[in-house]
Symmetry: C2
Subunit: 413 residues, 2 copies
């Protein structure tokens, strides 16, 4: 069963409104590259790759990489050998896309959904997701804004629309004193029956985190994610001393994020620095490594939750299968930025949440195909890239005038 | 692809000579139960199960368990759902046999050897094994004895016969002062070019271990395995404080064994109690759990080696595939009691070691089938069981008269 064809599709799917976080103002669309592998016996598998959301991107560079570097490494190989292929590809973002597509093929060859291939214990019908509430700027149509005053209402609306039993609020966009009041307002609006987690996006100092969590101590927070961040990107180091200080100062559980490397996980375990770690299918380097990361964390008594950063539908499906395979080893509902996008590229349209859960596909492999019409609709053409860049430039120019509260955000991604 | 048939075969394959360890004198043959599953599309998979080597065994009890408890749990299920089946079977030794057979089927269905399915990175032709030298009593023909005076020569002979680059000596059968001199003689006989590991089988106290390793400090030992053992069986608890004391007192690396549960591994990591942990495909609860155990250990910088306890050919094949899949995540050569048996039940005869390595099967699945003639030859008939029991009874009766140095061994298994 050898791979005989590789196709790559570069798309940009718009956000409902540009997101504001500690990283700055998001690019107004999510750029992703989807791949489709075909085997000699006609089985296809699909995958998804970056680029990174926080670095400048030149249109066409990911597809060119797939054509130039990945194609010769992959063609003629068996999809079973995804671990070997990932090594050949230096475990880059392209390797994750290839691994996903390989697993999809293997699942189809065996006629089983991936969560069962990944060690799921029996039939799993659905897995719980968390609502993910972001501060947003208005989009090009002037809609979708979520500001300090509107966040509580936004959270209630998200819950009402899809029945989420967990709500996550992304902070780090406004001064901590303002955001603390917002969290209080969100809890008041949601009432006590909904799990509430917050994510300052690494924007707090240790001292700020201790003070903030003291003020939030009676809100029964599920956890605070990445209250502080190491110098640098956070993916390369973790300040376990700081996390431990924050953790020991109060009663709010601490979730570490952007620690997807196993050595960082080991450091968290050794230093008792967190209660929960976030697992990212791309950040961990593919689904097999994400499974290992999550199971290792569970072995040491850490809770886990699926992180959401950059993925569209294929990545979201991989997360669902991972969550279903992990079962009770993964204690927390999954994050999903997915609902911030206006569309997806899966056949059958975007995935849905019902009563706070997403259905686990029972079809073989990932359980979905790419929709050629959607790929064409959202193709990152030269014209679209120029429009998006221009709109983003305008947005960034307005910071400090139209959005003075965001003036402290010196970085824009 | 549903399982439609389950067969179980109970065999007893004789030792070359009864082994002496800290557990006492081994039963003169290894009793194992092999299973063969067949799917509706005619694919077969083979597995292997206990009984335990250290508990009295009633002939036929394992096959009866497969017939009564396992058959209804397994028939009609898919071999993909091994994790679910293992849970249904309470993760007992029968569950490991079923999981092995399921993986064998899945590998055959995908036409790949298991090590590639388990995340091996590319083609692996062979994996290194360690010679395993035991003190032995003479067998019924009066041959095969290995006593204190003969151990060094025995080690050299094992190396010469198969090209082993690593030699392991099982201790715990004689007083520590005598065995320390034996280890010195073994190192002298082997010379410096061969890795040498020792295994006191948990028989030393902390104080004895510290003294013994001080005396052995210049022999460049690869590691000392299980120098001490917790009260009880050792599978239920690990004395990490004691191991840490032994480890910090000298320079000989410490390998922890009989700690196959993940919570015991976590305790070893947290307490910095070992340099290496042994991984047992049966003790860990099947190959998937053994993989997770080994990869988790590697994540925390622990070396790993495949333990050998009770397995015949199917278990040995599973170990080979695991070792090949783990690659450099598993730093040490595998133990194999396998060569202590006079035969095996695999078609094509016993597995071989050439230049210290065992070839990794490249055929789909485990890469071997059961040999019906061998199953018949070694079937544990009522007559054979009576003969083995009688011979073992005689052996135990002679302890203290013919083998006075073994008189301290109050337990016999």
């Amino acid at each position: 069963m050898r791979i005989v064809e590789l196709e790559a599709f570069e798309v940009a799917v718009p956000f409902r409104g540009p997101i504001v976080s500690a990283f700055g103002i998001s690019y107004p669309a999510r750029i992703r590259t989807f791949v489709r592998l075909t085997t000699e016996n006609g089985i296809t598998g699909i995958g998804e790759a970056g680029p990174s959301a926080t670095h400048p991107y030149v249109r066409g560079s990911m597809p060119a990489r797939f054509e130039r570097d990945v194609r010769p490494a992959v063609l003629g190989e068996s999809p079973i050998d995804h671990a070997w292929l990932a090594r050949k590809l230096y475990h880059g973002p392209d390797a994750v896309a290839i691994e996903l597509a390989c697993w999809d093929i293997v699942g189809k060859a065996l006629d089983v959904p991936l969560y069962r291939l990944w060690g799921g214990r029996g039939h799993v019908a659905r897995v719980p997701l968390s609502a993910y509430a972001f501060f947003r700027l208005p989009n090009a149509s002037g809609e979708g804004e979520v500001d300090l005053a509107g966040m509580a209402e936004h959270c209630v609306a998200l819950r009402a629309a899809s029945g989420f039993r967990t709500v996550k609020v992304k902070l780090g966009a406004h001064p901590p004193c303002d955001e603390i009041e917002v969290v209080r307002a969100v809890r008041e609006a949601l009432g006590p029956g909904t799990a509430l987690r917050i994510d300052p996006n690494g924007s707090w100092s240790v001292a700020t985190a201790v003070r903030a969590l003291h003020r939030l101590r009676d809100l029964d927070l599920e956890y605070v994610e990445e209250p502080i961040r190491s110098a640098g990107t956070g993916d390369n180091a973790v300040d376990t001393a700081g996390l431990r200080r924050v953790r020991s100062a109060g009663s709010v559980p601490i979730a570490a994020d952007h620690c997807y490397r196993l050595d960082l996980l080991a450091q968290i375990v050794r230093d008792d620095a967190a209660d929960v770690v976030l697992v990212d299918v791309f950040g961990c380097g593919g689904p097999a490594r994400a499974l290992h990361y999550a199971r290792t964390a569970a072995t040491f008594g850490l809770g886990t939750a699926m992180h959401s950063g950059t993925e569209l539908g294929v990545g979201q499906l991989a997360k669902i299968h991972l969550q279903a395979a992990l079962g009770e080893e993964m204690r927390h509902a999954s994050d999903a930025m997915y609902f911030e996008y206006v569309d997806d590229v899966l056949a059958g349209g975007p995935l849905r949440v019902v009563d706070g859960d997403m259905a686990v596909p029972q079809a073989p492999g990932l359980g979905a195909e790419l929709d050629d019409a959607a790929l064409a609709r959202w193709e990152l053409t030269d014209a679209r890239k120029r429009d998006l860049d221009a709109y983003w430039g305008d947005l960034k120019g307005e910071i400090g005038t139209s959005y003075p509260s965001l003036d402290h955000l010196v970085r824009h991604y």
